[in-house]
Symmetry: none
Subunit: 408 residues, 2 copies
Amino acid sequence: MKIAVVTIGDELLNGEVVDTNTALIARALRCEGYVIDQAITLPDQPQEIATTLQVLNKQGSAVLVSGGLGPTRDDLTARAAAQAFHLTLSLNELALRQIEAFFDKAGKPMPPGNEKQALIPHKAQVMENRCGTAPGFIITHNRCPLFFMPGVPHEMEAMLHQQVIPALRRQLAPTLFCGERVVKVFGLPESDIERQLPASLFPDSVALSFRLEYPLVLVKLNTSGKQESDLDDAERLVCERLRHHVVARGNQTLPQVVHQLLCNAEVTLSLAESCTGGMIATLLTDQAGSSAYLERGAVTYANSAKHDWLGIPNELLLKKGAVSAECARGMANGIRQRARTDYALAVTGIAGPGGGTAEKPCGTVFIALATPQGTDIRECHFSGDRAQVRTKTAYTALDWLRRTLSGD
Amino acid sequence: MKIAVVTIGDELLNGEVVDTNTALIARALRCEGYVIDQAITLPDQPQEIATTLQVLNKQGSAVLVSGGLGPTRDDLTARAAAQAFHLTLSLNELALRQIEAFFDKAGKPMPPGNEKQALIPHKAQVMENRCGTAPGFIITHNRCPLFFMPGVPHEMEAMLHQQVIPALRRQLAPTLFCGERVVKVFGLPESDIERQLPASLFPDSVALSFRLEYPLVLVKLNTSGKQESDLDDAERLVCERLRHHVVARGNQTLPQVVHQLLCNAEVTLSLAESCTGGMIATLLTDQAGSSAYLERGAVTYANSAKHDWLGIPNELLLKKGAVSAECARGMANGIRQRARTDYALAVTGIAGPGGGTAEKPCGTVFIALATPQGTDIRECHFSGDRAQVRTKTAYTALDWLRRTLSGD
């Protein structure tokens, strides 16, 4: 038996609302070991809904439907379901009592419009909606179940977990053991990563896939086998192959990893940012507890700020320019001395779109890392628009700090 | 001719990624007067993709496909398209040159893996991808076009506007006129906004909807009528009703509006951020040209930084604490004097989850705005998690500056 998800609502097809229910259902089913074979979004039109339900049911799919069970006249899913399987719509006593009970609990009288929500296809099994007024229902046709749920995400989610998944489990055995590993890679193009990870290296039970999560590439390992150990081996192999390009795993982010390394090392950090304009500081202070290591950060946009706060000599700014290895070095050393921290990161560059020159085009960035052992500089040339250059600069700086702290 | 959208990728059916491309395409088409009849999401499986494309094409639909054009093994859309319409996959010279040109521009050699992306169904018309390596293509079968676009949203969006929509317009007349206005509101709960904008105020030709885009509420005005003027009147009415709570319109963001006001006023700004940790600076420096007004920003996390850079007396920090009206005032005045700017914004607060006390719970924030006329303080109590408190703080500070500069 296949599994299909159908989301219903004009607002999903005119761009007003992003359909989050499909992903929500997919995540919940996946944790139960089920895979969704396709997802379809339809407008509030009974004929199209009915036809699609018939087709999916003929294909032998279990169908999870959300949306169109509301009290207003554009909620037509129940009617479409009845039409699809030649059932009559009848007022369901149980559903009606549940709707009335819901309004009682809210201390409100039931508006007449809501009685319509108790009109449910004959012989359908009612699913109680504990979070709203729209009851759900189950129709079984050709030995395949069709689950009808409300479209409001939290109402749908509650019904899914409390009633749909248990019912599905009774009729359909999970198809996969849902083990997964995610390895996050920075500084290697997707195609290079794939070349270093040929499928031949991995057992058939482990599926490899790649996803761009700018500026990272995610390597995902999934197994349909029962071997957790296959996944462990595969993850180890990926990390061995990509070595220091692996910046995080699982749900971790690079800023979280750097945050943890700084906390563990019990060292302090200061920042001097020009082209990133505070982005590095923002990424670190997103983490609760960052005050343990972050002494201060300087967003030194103007030369006067670089001079006053970081002690960059005006003649250096004149001779070499603010975007130069010398300036980056001065910024890192300057902030480290003034903040009296163990480490200091400094970035200066041209994010664009303006400000580029022949010898220093947009995307030219100098990063400096000052440590108790000394100060190093990197010259980078990033492609992309302003946002991409800024993001790559921030990640490159954080990754440099990560490697230094972890000896990676 | 109907219109169908097909999004492709295992990650969309296992719950890892919410499909935003469908809504993005729907919104763009809607503004051109097209309605989408259905949207389908499929896994990276050539057979299923091919079958679905055949069915949709037989139904006489124009099909917009996104995803599965990447350089890796699990990108199989081009192969599926060839299979569906019995075309051979061949190395497309034009596509290959575009991919090579993309890497040239980035100053990198083309990794061999990317050559695969130039394998395109024979006779298909190539669409250039100006933002990435995956070329798109158009197949026309049974006089119905199928547009294949990359899945990376910003690449897809650029190709959609630059090439797909113009091509679609040549083959299919728009079915409806669809004007839209968006009014962005800050500082009013959705329910208050709704109460101030009863449907009875607006002509039937204008549909009103509300959407939360944290921390803003978007008021959307749509018309399917031909009356552009109805929209203008409706938008004016919304702005009159919500007055200074309207922070931006259309595609504008609040940071963009503040950026523009600062540029127009030709004034300078400095920032002193504690709990927002550089977020305000980041939001402003996201805008190209922010160096015109932003002299510097201080992320003063430690008291030592507040003392050295902003001249906050240690006894004030001891007596009143870093999270206090007095400290906020001192921070704003201190940074304004040192940076010699016209304006200065300072924020200090407890973002949480830790650090709250009985009299200063998490979410307690003091914001100070120093202007040539003097310095004002605001005490705020925000609800929500760390990220929400930080975002609300940054937006409240920026909105305060917006109102001051615009006399709103």
